[in-house]
Symmetry: D2
Subunit: 337 residues, 4 copies
């Protein structure tokens, strides 16, 4: 159920509708837009009788939702969501660049990379503190020592910190030290984790699962939003196919497909999406050309020595080149598309 | 590193080697076998110097492990692991049948199905108490009420309870009320959950992820075993492909492939593996013929009314027919293969 | 359009209906069944007005076909098609075994394998005369010399010859020297070849394409049948997925899926379906258990020396064991399923 | 075997080496480059003794080829191949645009589209004369009538004609009426057809098969080149995956991957690569941004009425917009990458 308010509806009228929704035991999700507010309803088992809302003051229309989505849709919010993280944004006119090493390995490495990231004009620093690794016997991240380094980078460079949370308790730590909670591909359907992130005040960057359909991915976003956190950023990072020349097959058509359905911003990860450093810049260009709101890129000061994912990390010099090229494309794209 | 003891080694000699391993700060995983004990070593960062173990009394051989696996391998344990759950087994001569509804919906449903399962001679009852659902707006399981019903079924029929744990705290509940911890396909790489299950005394049934390679799946088992829980049962439940006539493509070649590498038992889930009730019995026959150690089958007293996965559930009558057919194949298979 | 004749309809009445269909410019496909004959109509562009057929003598019913299939369906022929090749059959009570080397390499090799195949009781000998190879620089088959060897094997052992045709002109040669035209996975949508095979008097064994949906595969069969050749045998040989422990993923659920839709027999190729000799026998057992009408198996007297696909070929001794095991399963299956 | 000539080698010296290669029974493939000529050798069974060539006048180096490729490689020809079709090129500085309807339906449709294509500055007109359709019962192309229309379009607009050949005899017709032989995804491993195209004087546009690895695709090109036709253009048109929001998943990483290995030009087909008109322009932009040498785009004057693939065809107005956008990206790309 979706309640669309009149353009002329007052804040008080919106509140009154929210109160009625809560009074009958449901959850209300008001989404203010450029021209009107819409209110999504969740928490109902089975269909809701919409007639009780139709005559409330300020209500323009009551829409029964037949699609599997309620909150991610353009029906609820026709304009794109712009996620604000301090003075930076994702989903607006700015191209969001999230760059950094796969894992924080030590202070020197992290600072060398952070300096390059900061110098490029990027606003976000990524870096794994714990790394979800396929094998229990490979480097699993610095853990607590990593947090100290991250905190120092935030202070020194003013970069916003994006890092992965693996379970409920690690969300607590990201909330304490970071700016954006990343949920990785392997956890895209870890519903306990999605719900916990949905109760956070921090934005959530939700990576697409390795074999997730668009619907499954958007419903994972819906899990987060249903808990009240509407600042979700989707990240396409490639899907698993038979192809062997890349680690994953980057599915850029996901960007226009999501635009048709959802107001959520979408970014591209060409590093995991290809697994090969020499492909990252061309695919980053393609990601910006297709219309993505940002990029997530792995950078390492010594890719050859990286403790994880070195094969796909750019050097600071390669990264600077990438930024130049995507900026040129973004410039013509924002003007015309 | 893998230490193979002489066939003549005494328990005291094995203990002595374990003590040395622990004294140098590693973890020892002794695996007694029919003819000899082998001891796996984990917890090392980088290679271990094996010479210190070579001359200990009772040691036959020290093997450097170059494969990504340490504990799941036939090198460590040449005979198949037989998981014992009370008086039932998985991995031995008995064909293990785990049957029950997708989700516990109410007492009548659960008892009707449990009676059919018990009557068929099966030893295990499956049933979701919480259901990890793709959408936040569909039936999510009975929760606590489900546990009471499960406990009653265990008492009444003597069936062992197999149910899914979604996060660390739900492992606690399975430990309290159930007999086998199931880890679902969506959580196969939820490493926090794998580690928690690895510290449990209950056996763990580990479903293959939707797009997991064999190596990723076996390394997920390795995560559990590295924590000290060696009772892991692998469950093939189909992988995601382009095919549209089934919900998933059941990869039966996984059974001989795992047999070549690992001592862990493998069972087949033809219900999720096909998604269509009319295919479940033929694929169950195929699963037993290929050499699986057991089957996991969804049964519902009224599939048409099921709150989840009704399309793939068998009626009690269809299920009885399945058991007849697979038993006949198992009989000739145990004799000859 | 599908015209179902009354059980009492005479051959003359069937002929009369066929004549009317042809007179209005369409093609008639009469399919005699156990209890009644049905006549498929192809060659129409757009819908046919069925009223003109409804009142013809002997007509029971005129059915408008809305599915993409016309001739492969159980609507047209409710009983399974039994393809007869001399005194052998595929699709009847007999389990059809087609065995032989990937490619005919020389007389000694071919005769050694043929003897083992014959001794096992199999009725069909497979062997590539031309080999469609991924690289232009690898062994492409013996060509004409291969035909002489094949002809001699047919004479000596009474085995029916199954061999692949790559284009229209090679169909001519199979018609001259062989018994069954095989169309390979790479040519499943080579429509020129399908049409040519459809005009042959020999049965056609149609392998599933590497990434073909069930619908595409059945429509490829439809291409053959639309030309008048109703003796089509479908062969599942695995599909391409992300999995790396096998060459292809054998999709055994295709067997019950086809049974629901089509009267055509289906066989399984566990050799290409796995690519590993040690998996062939377990998957052959699974194929028979799932209900396939036959098996296609690669056998080589010296797999190590094979010029193509040696890794998946069984030795004569392994092959004999396979036959023993599948025969035991077939015996219980024919009785009960 | 690959013979690299000295930069100073004369045409006569190259000829002399070619003669020796032919005299010993092999085939010579001389590839003149910007700084030196290299000569590939095919037709050998097993390794060639290179010593006989080492001392011939003008020879710089004899390289044993251990990769599966001989002729498509940068080893043989370090500069990109520029295919010339009359006064147009593919692979050079010009962005090649091949546009037109899926199938030629009638004169009015073909001319309306051709006019738009010509007006946009594109040099190539695509259009199916025969259409390889999944079902035998759907529109199969105009056949001979289509050729007359194509011929007229070539005369009227000066556009080069690109059309698909389905078998050997249809190559004859393309040679008579067209400018570029297209080999479709379904025929990528139709080796008879590849060989026939390899003996043509026309360039060949080789689409990637639906589930072809890069290696299989490049070896299909190798089949064509081994017959002496070096004007091969590769076309990425999407691969089959589990994804359901597109008809195929466009694998743009194939472009940098091929660049690393091969001198052949690569173009992108965003129409088949997505299957949805609204995605074609964004993915065309991405294709140019990733560095493709051209685009193949479906345009129809009335997509709603198209007899095939209407859902993915652009209107002339949408197509004009696409050209504007990709031209802007191409301009910055040629300058900088």
């Amino acid at each position: 159920m979706l309640i669309v308010m009149k353009p002329s509806a007052t804040a008080r009228e919106v509140d009154a509708v929210v109160n009625v929704i809560q009074a009958v035991g449901f959850r209300a999700h008001p989404m203010p837009g450029a021209t009107r507010t819409a209110i999504g309803i969740t928490g109902n088992e089975g269909p809701v009788d919409g007639r009780r809302f139709e005559d409330l003051p300020g209500v323009a229309e009551v829409i029964r939702v037949t699609k599997p989505y309620k909150l991610i849709t353009l029906d609820l919010r026709p304009e794109k969501t712009i996620v604000k993280i301090g003075d930076a944004t994702i989903g607006g006119s700015e191209l969001a660049i999230i760059a950094g090493p796969c894992a924080i390995e030590n202070r020197d490495q992290a600072f060398a990379v952070a300096e390059a990231v900061h110098k490029s004009g990027a606003r976000f620093f990524r870096g794994g503190v714990w790394k979800p690794r396929t094998s229990p016997y490979t480097f699993q991240g610095l853990g607590d020592k990593g947090w100290e380094i991250m905190a120092e980078i935030r202070d020194t460079f003013g970069l916003k910190i994006v890092t992965e949370a693996l379970d409920k308790s690690s969300v607590d730590l990201v909330e304490h030290y970071g700016d954006v909670i990343q949920i990785g591909a392997r956890n895209m359907q870890n519903f306990s984790l999605l719900r916990r992130a949905g109760r956070s005040k921090l934005p959530v960057l939700l990576k697409r699962g390795m074999a997730a359909t668009l619907e499954e991915w958007l419903l994972a976003a819906e899990y987060i939003m249903a808990e009240g956190n509407y600042n979700v950023i989707l990240c396409e990072r490639g899907v698993r196919t038979f192809a062997q020349h890349t680690r994953n097959t980057l599915d850029l058509a996901a960007v226009p497909a999501i635009r048709r359905i959802s107001h959520l911003p979408v970014i591209i990860d060409p590093s995991h999406g290809t697994g090969n450093a020499y492909m990252v810049t061309p695919l980053a260009r393609a990601g910006v050309a297709v219309g993505a709101d940002g990029l997530m890129v792995e950078v390492h000061n010594h890719p050859d020595l990286a403790l994880s994912d070195g094969a796909q990390a750019l050097t600071p010099a390669q990264y600077a080149q990438l930024i130049d090229q995507v900026s040129a494309i973004r410039e013509i794209s924002v003007a015309n598309w």
